[in-house]
């Protein structure tokens, strides 16, 4: 093994790609696109889509309508003084979007009130009206039962649940389980995307060398295995670079974003509650502004991330390279793709379970099995406290199978790169492995 040659190959593979416009663009734009996407999602989820619709209250009890109007004076209006037929006509003419008939029986029995509209109100609108009606009816019921104001307040106050984690030192830490399982899933997803994306980059690179016919010139200068290792390492370094840039962007962004987001959210909460007790509302929402600190991630997780990414990549990339070496064009790779797709997509699907049950037997097995461990173990490490022996065993298995896979792939690769015009099959793979 001539390391100076491997280094030359690595350098070429890395530099020609890292200098390319597409790489620079994708590195810079991916986080922006992601942020924009999540921002868009957040906007959709928080935007007030139901506020436009109006509801006429036809209140026969005479006590509910005022309370409803005080909840949302834009939405609710009192139409009790009009004949019911006129109200119906208004809804049909679209002067009102809907009307609500409230009677004594709605307070005294458990019979549900009915919201009547011409065009569909939408689930969010219905839900919002339902909760308003529920609130005023409940209040009226409490009043009629002669309950004191104190008890009413107790009733209005829904208890929340905080979770804390007990550590060896006996101190209860702030538990970030929700956030960390999200982080774990995203890290697993990144490795999944990395293995697939950079693996495909490598595969295309192998095919390119083959179809350009440069590979024969190259192999008259070095061993195919040296070429293979150089290329895999070069593309791996490329992925490394991209992830590092993203990690730095994330850290910088979150350092800047935490205070900003904290202020924004406090503002929002203050606005929404208009002077109500802030802490109480926050607790009800299960949200504590100080919890934004959890956005900081333990740096060890990044170390494990790179470790599992690199080892997983070397293993998968050598398979991608072997597939690339066996074909003359990218279209011909279809028949071989299942060997890569099944374990990778399998690991991804498993991850959705592992994220919520990181200590289940399934999770332990998947995070040990070398074909899925690069994706599944990082999710577990982020989500739960994985015993050190499990991480060690997972890494050892991964390294061992990396050597095995690389050994077989290299044999296919060295025969494949010089085969032209013949569509290889799995049978050919077996022949080539025996041949070399």
């Amino acid at each position: 093994m001539d390391f100076s040659k491997i280094f030359l190959v690595l350098k070429r593979e890395y530099l020609t790609r890292a200098k390319s416009k597409s790489f620079i663009l994708s590195t810079a734009l991916t986080p922006i696109v992601l942020i924009a996407f999540f921002g868009f999602l957040a906007w959709i989820m928080t935007s007030d889509s139901e506020s436009e619709k109006t509801v006429g209250i036809y209140d026969q009890t005479g006590v509910l309508v005022e309370n409803l109007i005080s909840l949302d004076s834009l939405r609710y209006s009192d139409v009790s003084y009009l004949p019911l037929d006129t109200v119906k006509a208004m809804v049909l003419r679209q002067d009102l979007d809907s009307y609500l008939l409230l009677e004594e029986r709605h307070i005294e029995t458990n019979e549900n009130a009915e919201l009547i509209y011409k065009e569909s109100g939408g689930l969010a609108f219905n839900g919002s009206v339902r909760s308003d009606v529920r609130e005023v009816i409940q209040e009226e019921r409490l009043t009629r039962a002669n309950v004191s104001d104190e008890v009413k307040q107790l009733f209005a106050r829904r208890p929340g649940l905080d979770s804390r984690k007990l550590t060896e030192e006996g101190e209860a830490e702030d538990d970030k389980a929700g956030f960390m399982s999200g982080v774990g899933f995203v890290l697993g997803l990144l490795i999944f995307i990395g293995l697939f994306g950079y693996g495909a980059v490598l595969m295309r690179s192998v095919i390119e060398e083959k179809t350009n016919r440069i590979v024969e010139v190259i192999t008259s200068s070095l061993k195919p295995i040296e070429l293979l290792i150089g290329k895999v390492a070069g593309v791996c370094l490329l992925g490394f670079t991209q992830f590092t840039v993203w990690a730095v962007m994330y850290i910088g962004f979150s350092m800047a974003a935490v205070p900003v987001a904290g202020v924004l959210m406090q503002d929002q909460i203050a606005q929404a509650t208009e002077g109500q007790d802030l802490e109480q509302v926050a607790a009800e929402a299960g949200f504590d502004p100080s919890s934004l600190e959890v956005l900081s991630i333990d740096p060890m997780i990044f170390v494990y991330f790179f470790l599992f990414f690199v080892l997983g990549f070397f293993m998968y990339a050598s398979i991608f390279a072997a597939v690339g070496s066996a074909v003359d064009s990218e279209q011909d790779t279809q028949q071989f793709m299942p060997i890569l797709m099944i374990p990778l997509i399998g690991a991804y699907v498993l991850n959705t379970r592992i994220m919520v049950e990181p200590d289940s037997t399934l999770a332990v097995v998947a995070s040990m099995f070398p074909l899925t461990s690069p994706i599944n173990m990082i999710t577990r490490i982020a989500t739960t406290d994985v015993p050190v022996w499990q991480i060690g065993a997972s890494l050892a298995l991964l390294v061992a199978s990396f050597f095995g896979v690389m050994w077989v792939s290299a044999k296919i690769y060295r025969v494949g790169i010089l085969m032209y015009g013949k569509k290889a099959s799995f049978g050919d793979f077996a022949k080539w492995i025996k041949q070399s």
């Binding site: 001539d2 040659k5 030359l8 190959v9 070429r12 020609t16 390119e208 060398e209 350009n212 016919r213 440069i214 590979v215 024969e216 010139v217 190259i218 192999t219 008259s220 200068s221 070095l222 061993k223 010089l418 032209y420 022949k431 041949q435």
Partner: protein
């Protein structure tokens, strides 16, 4: 002095015996031609000399060393299927390929500079290969083959696909390299180039080396059994001849290979009866004729049919 020593090499791909017990020696400072129809095993042999493939049996030594990564540095190799990285700049690409052959950066840059200058290609350094014309990229390919100044140069079908200008240029380079004491091995199926350039030849057929030696000696061994005939008049009498093979026939010229001891005097007589003879000369057979008679006409026709399809 022998610089490439090939001894009893065999190489099979599955059931196909690509190279079947081939031996030959290439002498230092000479031009060695590997001839033979397509699929005769020339490229496989060349790949084994370049240590791209290993022989199943037998041995190859270069300068006294078994073929290995070390001997790869002594060889400049231009494969039949030529190729470069399309998206890489000419300068970077040449540097990369030359460094892979073990040359230090500084020396490599100087050598590349020298050759780019010689080919009037210095302006191209910053261009991507994909932007170059075919002729231009052929020149870059030569430079990539020779820039690391090896002792041995191997060209697989070097003239195929070359435009006439580059073809002449390559011929000149090969002669120049030889004059500088370098050794050249090339494979071809174009006989006129072999006649013009080669000192020694080895003829391949169906994986075996069927004929080899110094070009002059090989030709002499076939004897002066060919007639060079120039005439004026109706050439149809040529069709009546028996026991001959006609090569290079045209309206007033024919190269006649005499088979089975057919009398040359009878041919002359017949010719004189039908046409005015300007020249009747007994010569050694052309290499093309030797090629055909050794490989066999049937075999060749089958080959050509295959190629045409």
């Amino acid at each position: 002095m022998t610089i490439i020593h090939v001894e009893n090499i065999r190489k099979s791909f599955g059931k196909n015996k690509a190279v079947d017990d081939v031996s030959f020696d290439v002498e230092k400072g000479r031009i060695f031609g590997l001839l033979g129809p397509n699929g005769a095993g020339k490229t496989t042999t060349i790949r084994m000399i370049n240590n791209i493939l290993g022989p199943d049996q037998g041995s190859i030594t270069i300068n006294g060393q078994i073929a290995s990564p070390l001997t790869q540095k002594m060889i400049g190799y231009m494969p039949e299927e030529r190729g470069l990285y399309k998206k890489m700049k000419v300068g970077e690409q040449l540097l990369y390929l030359t460094q892979l052959k073990g040359m230090k950066t500084k020396a490599a840059k100087e050598a590349i500079h020298y050759w780019l200058d010689r080919f009037d290609a210095s302006d191209w350094t910053k261009k991507e290969v994909g932007e170059l014309s075919k002729g231009m990229s052929q020149k870059i390919q030569f430079i990539a083959t020779i820039a690391h100044d090896p002792d041995i140069y191997i060209f697989d079908e070097p003239f195929s696909g070359l435009d006439p200008i580059n073809s002449d240029m390559l011929k000149d380079i090969i002669i120049e390299l030889k004059n500088n004491g370098k050794t050249i091995l090339f494979s071809t199926h174009r006989m006129e180039q072999v006649e013009q350039m080669c000192d020694d030849i080895c003829l391949f057929n169906k994986g075996k080396a069927v004929l080899q030696g110094k070009l002059r000696e090989v030709k002499a061994s076939f004897g002066k059994n060919t007639i060079n005939l120039e005439f004026d008049g109706d050439g149809s009498f040529l069709d009546k001849l028996e026991g001959v093979r006609l090569n290079n026939r045209s309206t007033n010229f024919a190269e006649i290979r005499v088979l089975n001891g057919q009398s040359m005097q009878d041919i002359l007589k017949l010719a004189m009866e039908h046409a005015e003879i300007h020249k009747f000369e007994r010569i050694e057979p052309s290499l093309n004729e030797i090629f055909i008679s050794t490989v066999g006409e049937d075999n060749l026709k089958a080959q050509q049919l295959e190629e045409a399809q």
